[in-house]
């Protein structure tokens, strides 16, 4: 019953993303040219909330049919993959793998899986662009940072740029997660220009009041023409929520990771660039640390 209702809605809805919060379970957010509220619920101070009613939106039959075809294809693929093994990989691969390449940048399709944002969204003056590098073998994130704060009376600081992987979507836009429980470190092959970046890992927690949780760690680039291989164990990621580092720290759980992002906010005005060759996972058997920060309560009330 719910499925048929969903299909009916989708036959008539086009690719605009109004009213995402209310309609999200029913309409496929066809994210072609706008970044939907899946990623952030920020509204620029001074703009009014978007309240166009449903009957004013454009309807398109073609998009609906495309959407149905695509999702049935994905559903079939999911069923077949479920028979093959976890996440579509065979069992030997799942049990014996020690390395896995999660994102590599070899074509425009790989670049489309990432979303670039900068403080231009809050009114700042930074710019950030993502494009394929030389020989289509790397991704180049470049732009300019400007720490001049936007004058809207609310924002105090500015000057950041970020890139984040799009959320995984299954058939009919169900939420899917990465399961990285076989691994314990993140491996990046990058070439930066000396700036310190932050790596954020977004998980999907059970309780919705933890939805702004973020696990972060720093990535210090050396600069220079040589490639830099960075291995960061997941035990080093610290928990922060809404941008503030939390007092009580908990280790990162690897079984429900929704996306990964890189942020630059080092308060230095000027151009920046970062080239990423690939992002992979590593199971470092020599790394036995469970968590780098104290798990006990540090300032007990009693």
């Amino acid at each position: 019953m719910a499925l048929s209702f969903k299909l009916l809605e989708n036959v008539f809805l086009s690719s605009k993303c109004h009213r995402q919060n209310a309609l999200h379970p029913f309409c496929g957010p066809l994210l072609t040219n706008c970044i939907s509220k899946l990623y952030s619920s920020y509204r620029r101070p001074g703009t009014s909330p978007d309240n166009t009613p449903l009957w004013k939106m454009n309807f398109s039959f073609e998009n609906g049919v495309d959407w149905i075809k695509k999702n049935f294809g994905l559903l079939k693929k999911e069923l077949v993959d479920h028979v093959k093994g976890p996440e579509g990989r065979g069992f030997e691969e799942y049990f014996l793998e020690q390395t896995r390449v999660v994102w590599e940048f070899r074509s425009q399709k790989d670049l489309d899986e990432w979303v670039v944002s900068s403080d231009a969204e809050i009114g700042g003056k930074s710019e950030a662009y993502l494009k394929l590098g030389k020989n289509n073998q790397t991704a180049l994130l470049f732009g300019t940072l400007s720490t001049e704060a936007p004058r809207d009376g609310e924002t105090g600081y500015s000057g950041y740029c970020a890139i984040r992987a799009k959320l995984l979507k299954g058939a009919f836009d169900t939420k899917k997660y990465y399961d990285w429980s076989n691994f314990n470190s993140l491996y990046l092959r990058v070439r930066g220009d000396g700036r310190p970046w932050m790596i954020n890992i977004y998980t999907d927690p059970y309780y919705s009041h933890q939805k702004d949780d973020l696990y972060t760690y720093f990535m210090f680039t050396r600069g220079g023409p040589y490639w830099q291989e960075i291995t960061i164990p997941f035990s080093k990621f610290f928990l922060s929520s809404w941008g503030r580092i939390q007092d009580d720290q908990y280790p990162l759980w690897l079984d429900k990771i929704s996306s990964v992002g890189f942020t630059l906010g080092d308060k230095a005005d000027g151009p920046f660039q970062l080239e990423i060759d690939f992002i992979g996972l590593l199971n470092d058997r020599a790394h036995t640390e469970e968590f780098a920060y104290e798990k006990y309560e540090r300032n007990p009330k009693a």
């Binding site: 390449v101 092959r189 220009d193 700036r195 720093f218 023409p225 040589y226 690939f278 540090r298 300032n299």
Partner: protein, 257 residues
């Protein structure tokens, strides 16, 4: 929550708080408080720390940044030219920018094996950030050879008494396979790097002449300059830049011909 705001900024800004901040934090908040704990955790996180305070003099700055990007502890830094401002008798000013170069023994060997028929490229300037200062460096690199023309590998049967090429990785056992199933992005070999006060061809030609002292093969190799007027991305090369010129470095060779 104001103290959180205070301390969260430096952590996210890539600036490590220093002793003064620590003292202030201790005084204001007490030894066991949240900001102090945060400071203690992230003091030594940077694997490539930038010296504080950063030297202002260009030669020292160039030396430190070249050693940082060379990634090789046995690399040698040579100062090819000191900055000089001369006023001639006629009142004309001649300024000489500084040129500091770096080359490691591995790079020297690669250059010695380079085929002198193929050109080498001087590319630049590329930006390098040290905290808040941006410096620019230039690179001497060769082309990526197609797989058929790579240099000869050492014949494994050349010497039966001991192995000529040893690749022992004693930290890991044979059961650990940490290779990634991806073709890494390959680029041509890098022969040397330098930092100069001015980015024009004459200055960099002086650098090449200085490099020739230790790398005699440079005198026979054509050098192509790919210089951009402003800072460039590290990858963009060969398509369409101004200032592309070839210098057959061998005036002597020409005279011989």
């Amino acid at each position: 929550m104001c103290h959180l705001h205070l301390v969260s900024l430096p952590t996210y800004a890539g600036i490590m708080p220093d002793n003064q901040t620590k003292f202030l934090l201790l005084q204001i908040f007490g030894a066991k408080s949240h900001p102090v704990r945060k400071y203690q955790r992230f003091k030594h996180v940077n694997p490539y720390p930038v010296p504080v305070p950063l030297p202002q003099e260009p030669i020292d700055l160039a030396r430190i940044s070249l050693q940082r990007i060379a990634a090789d502890l046995s690399a040698k830094v040579t100062v090819y030219q000191m900055p000089l401002t001369d006023i001639l008798d006629s009142g004309k000013e001649i300024t000489q920018p500084h040129i500091v170069g770096i080359q490691s023994p591995d790079q020297q060997e690669l250059l010695a094996h380079h085929n002198p028929d193929r050109p080498v490229f001087v590319e630049g300037p590329f930006p390098l950030w040290l905290k808040k200062t941006c410096v620019y460096y230039y690179v001497l690199r060769g082309e990526l050879l197609p797989p058929g023309e790579k240099g000869e590998m050492l014949d494994s049967e050349r010497n039966f008494y001991y192995p000529m090429h040893l690749d022992l990785d004693l930290d890991r056992g044979p059961w650990d396979d940490e290779e990634f199933d991806v073709d890494e992005a390959e680029e041509g070999p890098i022969f040397a790097m330098c930092m100069a006060g001015a980015g024009d061809q004459a200055t960099l030609a002086k650098w090449i002449l200085g490099l020739q002292q230790n790398n005699p093969i440079l005198s026979q190799t054509p050098v192509v300059f790919h210089l951009a007027p402003g800072p460039r991305e590290l990858l963009a090369a060969s398509d369409s830049e101004p200032g592309e010129e070839e210098i057959p470095q061998s005036r002597r060779a020409q005279q011989e011909r």
